[in-house]
Symmetry: C2
Subunit: 248 residues, 2 copies
């Protein structure tokens, strides 16, 4: 076993940190694998628990390791990162993150608009919506349950095979519409038993709930969506260019 070098000018906590990073890099430690306890690492490398604690704290802060309450410290599987300022298709997102994309359409139907549909899609009472529910897979694992609602007058999209073509492609070809501005909302939500069964997790697990209203090039609502996202698989980044305010 590789040891630490007590004669080196590199601090011991840093040596242990680098050693763990190397073991992850080389696949000796695998994603979701439990690492030895502080006590075990301290004995293994003949260093103080304080030193071990410092190494692990930094690796947790870096998102390399994750502490699970009452269970131990684990190698964190890297999360798929979506850039909110420049969202692409799920397919591209997966590819950029080295995952194989997949998915199934679970619902694709015309249905009665809810009050939320009427408000957000600016419909009249009694109008219908096209409801599309689909589950998204990354490396064959369900990671996102997506519900999309389009105004009912776009019902020609119902004749299309969603699995073969992109919705936006269809909207552009059939209606000359493309997406413009949008408003996004993100929060934590507990999943119910239906959502849990689709996402293959325990009912009541915390998920990221993302809602969006997407407008077309004329600033008319194009669709709304509600996505339930496995928080253990995804994170979101958002760069912000600050508009400098007047200097009072």
């Amino acid at each position: 076993m590789e040891g630490l070098d007590t004669t080196s000018i590199v601090p011991l906590y840093k040596q242990l940190k680098d050693l763990i990073l190397k073991q992850i890099d080389e696949g000796i430690l695998k994603p979701n694998q439990k690492i030895p306890t502080e006590q075990e690492l301290s004995e293994l490398y003949q260093i103080s628990r304080m030193t071990v604690r410092k190494s692990l704290a930094q690796l947790v802060d870096e998102g390399i390791l994750a502490k699970k309450q009452g269970k131990g410290t684990f190698v964190q599987e890297p999360k798929i990162t979506e850039d909110l300022s420049n969202p692409g298709s799920f397919t591209n997102l997966c590819k950029r993150n080295g995952k194989v994309p997949g998915g199934h359409t679970l619902k694709f139907m015309l249905t009665e608009a809810t009050d939320r549909d009427i408000r957000e899609l600016q419909l009249e009472t009694g109008e219908q919506v096209i409801w599309i529910e689909r589950v998204r897979l990354a490396d064959n694992m369900p990671v996102m349950l997506e519900n999309l609602y389009f105004p009912g007058h776009l019902k020609n999209i119902l004749t299309e095979n969603l699995d073969d073509s992109s919705l936006y492609q269809i909207l552009k070809e059939k209606y000359g519409l493309h997406s413009g501005n949008s408003v996004m909302e993100i929060e934590i939500s507990e999943c119910n038993s239906y959502e849990a069964s689709i996402l293959e997790i325990k009912a009541g697990s915390p998920l990221l709930l993302m809602r969006e209203i997407v407008y077309d090039q004329y600033d008319k609502p194009l669709h709304r969506s509600k996505s339930l996202i496995r928080g253990d698989k995804f994170k979101y980044i958002s760069p912000r260019m600050n508009v400098i305010k007047s200097e009072k």
Copy 2:
């Protein structure tokens, strides 16, 4: 007790929905209060369980009610909403959301920079950082645990009383620096026992973890932050102005 009107043209599910909204509005149903079960509502208002289910599903979808796995359906406390594209101070955020802001500084010290500090704040190895940890209160309830890290050379801010003045005010007055661009990252995280004790929740509870690097007007890192946010109290919105891409 107010009943439903079977002779009305307003559908029964809509009448029940409006009735529940009215009871919430009038304070008859209070935030976090459990509402009757489907079965009970069905008997109470002499309507089918299907109709009750439809009302409740829409109220859950609207974020007015929340289903808790194995516990029932509850009146959801409105979440504090922060606009990511225009973040203000915590004080203003609370005021806009009708909450009384508060807080304590838990740590305010010069300490050794971690690898993350060195990378994100563009420091030299061996440099120090100013570490500020504070808990933020809304209506006297801890809602956010904030850790801020500033480059050590800004150490004059250590002589200030943070409780009385805004950090940004101090940076502007002492150093002529103000915030410019930033990069934000958001994900779900499980809180550890220390974080749980500060936020007065159970260890292992899911939290929103937000990390930010804020740059100054010269695009040099001004600080980084790591905030743990109670997901049951906060949500985030982000409007996005789409830059229309070339039409190929």
